[in-house]
């Protein structure tokens, strides 16, 4: 109705009415004829005008199209131009307006401009390129953004309102050219080493977890390699971020070492997160674009239970659960509303899961880095009874003693180890024969042999082979049938949450040779058995299976780095081009080291506000550029 108070709109309403009535009368003359009275009489008048004055009506319609035309006459309004939402943010993004003054200390910089500023941006970039005499590379992209203007009418005739219009924008990515940096350093420091930089080998590392990073660190210290690190997730450090339990924050201190490494090797070490090797860039392309490739992508495929009913709801693998509480993106909340949980497996993942469920309720994880929503879910857990099932005996566990002791030390939980009298006696008699590690672990198990009691219980059971997962009418797990090797009988253990952690399978990248065991085919300890001019190495869990803690990975890494350094000692080939050009061509939205540091900072700031170490983000859409 408000349209009628505006003169232009009133005329267009009348014109439309005339046209409509004339049209309807042409089809159905009986609906609108001269005998009608009231409103229908008005319609008849309109129809008659339409018939008699049709050329004039047509001309008026035509005029209206030009008068209004969706455009606003700027002389009639005071215009307040709203700032459009910035499509990218970050400390190294600059938005050029007519007043901007750019100062920057970053190694790569994004400059954005829109509308009338496009010209200034391009002039600015050309000036910069001249100034740095080819030491800068610019990558120019354009886009269309939508901006909104607020319209304030200057006379009563016009309506206040908004106007949206498309506007051209330009985005320039400026970064230092590698080559020129080496020229500068050659001039600065005329040593043999700097000459060698022209022919330094370029290595691609697949995976930024501890294995890749420790090897990278050892290699950078020993050689003049240039290294590109590729990571599938949006953020680096693999299991250090997504695997180490949130109550073991000290273990994550090794990140400081990696931080140092990236900061002090900016000219030859690059990070590309959010790049999937196999999809964005194939393994073959890596070997073609690098002098050498190091596989360090871990082994992230969980071995399945392979028993009937394993697809029931609320049955999940240990690594899924670990990923969930550690903030891996796109993992659904498991239901923790039942009374009891069963964890199958006798490794550290099983212990971590049990401990985090146990600690969830008592608030001791409040200041850890578990994402807020997942922590809240964990704190509401109703689980009072955890059973950790082992398929083999108490002598075969692969727990580490530190984690096991932590479970026994939990104040509100009563934890105990169930073992038969015979088992206990055999272990006690064999105890002196064991090596130190096994001896101390067995002593701990024997110390806590018995039955748990109290409102919250954690019970370790052995010699139970899972046979079938039983589910209720909704398809959710309600119990697990296990074969008890002590009694040779089948037992039913009720549970509302089932976590299994019975090992991993190595995922083999397309193009990487595979041996009969389903592992990467290795020539020796670290060299992959592959034909072709590019040597390929593997380290960490993807090479040897998921065994050992950080110290094993670290020692192995030093060894592998030494081997690579030895192989490339007399390298005098050409430096390979690297895959960054490919990524750019394919518009892969990778995340660089500087970008990650920005995310890192944001996470820490957000965590500080609620007294946490950091608040891990679980979506990264706003950070991808």
């Amino acid at each position: 109705m408000s349209a009628i108070f505006n003169f232009q709109s009133l005329i267009s309403v009348i014109l439309l009415l005339i046209c409509t009535c004339a049209y309807i009368r042409a089809f159905a003359p009986k609906v609108i004829d001269r005998n009608k009275e009231g409103l229908l009489g008005v319609f008849w008048k309109c129809a008659r005008i339409g018939e008699r004055l049709s050329p004039w009506v047509a001309a008026s319609c035509f005029c209206m199209a030009f008068v209004k035309g969706g455009r606003v006459n700027e002389n009639h309004y005071e215009i307040n131009r709203q700032q459009p939402a910035k499509p990218f943010t970050g400390p190294n993004h600059f938005f050029i307006t007519r007043k901007t003054n750019v100062e920057s200390q970053y190694s790569d910089v994004y400059i954005h401009g829109m509308g009338a500023s496009i010209n200034s941006v391009l002039v600015f970039v050309v000036e910069l390129e001249k100034l740095f005499a080819g030491a800068l590379i610019s990558d120019v992209q354009t886009s269309t953004i939508h901006v909104t203007d607020n319209l304030f009418p200057m006379s009563d005739e016009f309506e206040a309102g908004d106007r949206s219009r498309p506007l051209s924008a330009v985005h320039v990515h400026l970064y230092r050219a590698m080559f020129c940096k080496t020229v500068y350093s050659r001039i600065r420091n005329l040593s043999i080493n700097s000459f060698r930089r022209f022919t330094r080998p370029r290595l691609a590392i697949v995976g930024s977890g501890p294995a890749g990073m420790f090897t990278c660190n050892a290699l950078l210290r020993r050689t003049n390699f240039a290294v590109d690190v590729f990571e599938n997730y949006h953020v680096p450090f693999g299991l250090v971020r997504y695997g180490v339990a949130p109550d073991h924050q000290e273990v994550k201190n090794c990140i400081n070492l990696f931080d140092n490494m990236f900061d002090s090797n900016k000219d030859r070490l690059r990070l590309f997160c959010n790049v999937n090797i196999g999809k964005d860039v194939t393994f073959e392309e890596l070997t073609n674009n690098y002098n050498s490739v190091l596989l360090a992508y871990g082994s992230y495929k969980t071995r399945s239970l392979a028993i009937p009913g394993e697809k029931s709801l609320n049955v999940l693998s240990g690594s899924e659960f670990v990923g969930w509480y550690n903030g891996v993106p796109n993992v659904a909340n498991p239901s923790l509303d039942g009374d009891s949980a069963v964890i199958i497996g006798n490794g550290n993942v099983a212990l971590d899961c049990a401990r985090i469920i146990s600690m969830g309720a008592d608030g001791s994880l409040k200041s850890s880095d578990i994402p807020d929503d997942r922590l809240a879910h964990l704190q509401e857990s109703k689980i009072r009874n955890i059973k950790v099932l082992g398929r083999r005996g108490p002598g075969d566990v692969s727990f580490t003693i530190k984690e096991l002791r932590e479970q026994f030390k939990l104040a509100e939980w009563s934890s105990a180890v169930d073992m038969s009298r015979e088992d206990e006696e055999t272990l006690r008699s064999e105890l002196p024969k064991f090596e130190r590690k096994k001896k101390r672990l067995t002593e701990l198990l024997l110390k806590f042999a018995g039955k748990p009691n109290g409102p919250r219980q954690c019970h370790f059971l052995f010699n139970r082979v899972p046979q079938e997962v039983l589910s209720d009418s909704c398809g959710r797990v309600k119990a697990i049938k296990v074969f008890n090797k002590y009694t040779n009988e089948t037992e039913t253990v009720p549970c509302s949450l089932l976590i299994y952690s019975i090992g991993y399978q190595t995922l083999i990248l397309d193009g990487v040779p595979q041996n009969a065991k389903g592992m990467i085919d290795m020539k020796d300890e670290c060299r992959v058995n592959i034909q072709g001019p590019t040597p390929v190495y593997a380290t960490g869990w993807c090479a040897h299976g998921p065994r050992g803690v950080i110290v094993d990975t670290q020692q192995q890494s030093a060894f592998v780095a030494e081997q690579i350094a030895k192989d490339f000692e007399n390298f005098n080939g050409k430096t390979a081009v690297g895959a960054d050009v490919l990524l750019k061509q394919r518009h892969v939205r990778s995340i660089s080291w500087d970008r990650w540091k920005f995310i890192d900072n944001e996470e820490k700031l957000k965590g500080q506000k609620s007294g946490k170490i950091r608040e891990k983000f679980t979506t990264f859409d706003s950070f991808v550029n």
Binding site: H248, E250, T400, Q554
Partner: protein, 132 residues
């Protein structure tokens, strides 16, 4: 830019409260001066010795990457004055090439009673013995 401090600061009469620490890592040898009261990890960090990943958890008793093997006399003296706690023993259990005289470098402080040259072995794998 990484600054490597190569020359230890030598002050007159300061020899009394500094000791020479020798780290034997496979075929490599590192020597640095450490002050009394510093831990072996502190010495490695301060002199930026090229021991890969040594002290990954920065001395918070969460890993065993600073595992060192002491000389017998040194170990016995430490064992009397500053025996390994439960936490340290638990971590040492996981250390590769564990030895009767193994300790964590972050727990061993240099004292006045130490010899003028402290020698410790930092185990490393020279050949990966694990079967793949």
């Amino acid at each position: 830019m990484r600054f490597v401090r190569t020359t230890p600061q030598i002050k007159l009469f300061s020899n009394l409260d500094t000791k020479n620490v020798k780290f034997l890592n496979g075929e490599r040898k590192f020597e640095a001066r450490g002050k009394v009261g510093q831990t072996l990890l502190d010495v490695v960090v301060e002199h930026d010795l090229d021991l890969d990943g040594f002290g990954a958890c920065e001395g918070t008793l969460a890993c065993c990457t600073c595992h060192v093997i002491l000389r017998k006399s040194h170990y016995e003296r430490e064992d009397k004055l500053n025996p390994a706690g439960e936490e340290e023993l638990d971590l040492l259990d996981m250390a590769p090439e564990l030895n009767d005289y193994s300790r964590l470098g972050c727990q061993i402080k240099i004292t006045n009673k130490d010899a003028e040259v402290i020698e410790v072995v930092v185990p490393s794998i020279t050949r990966d013995a694990r079967n793949s």
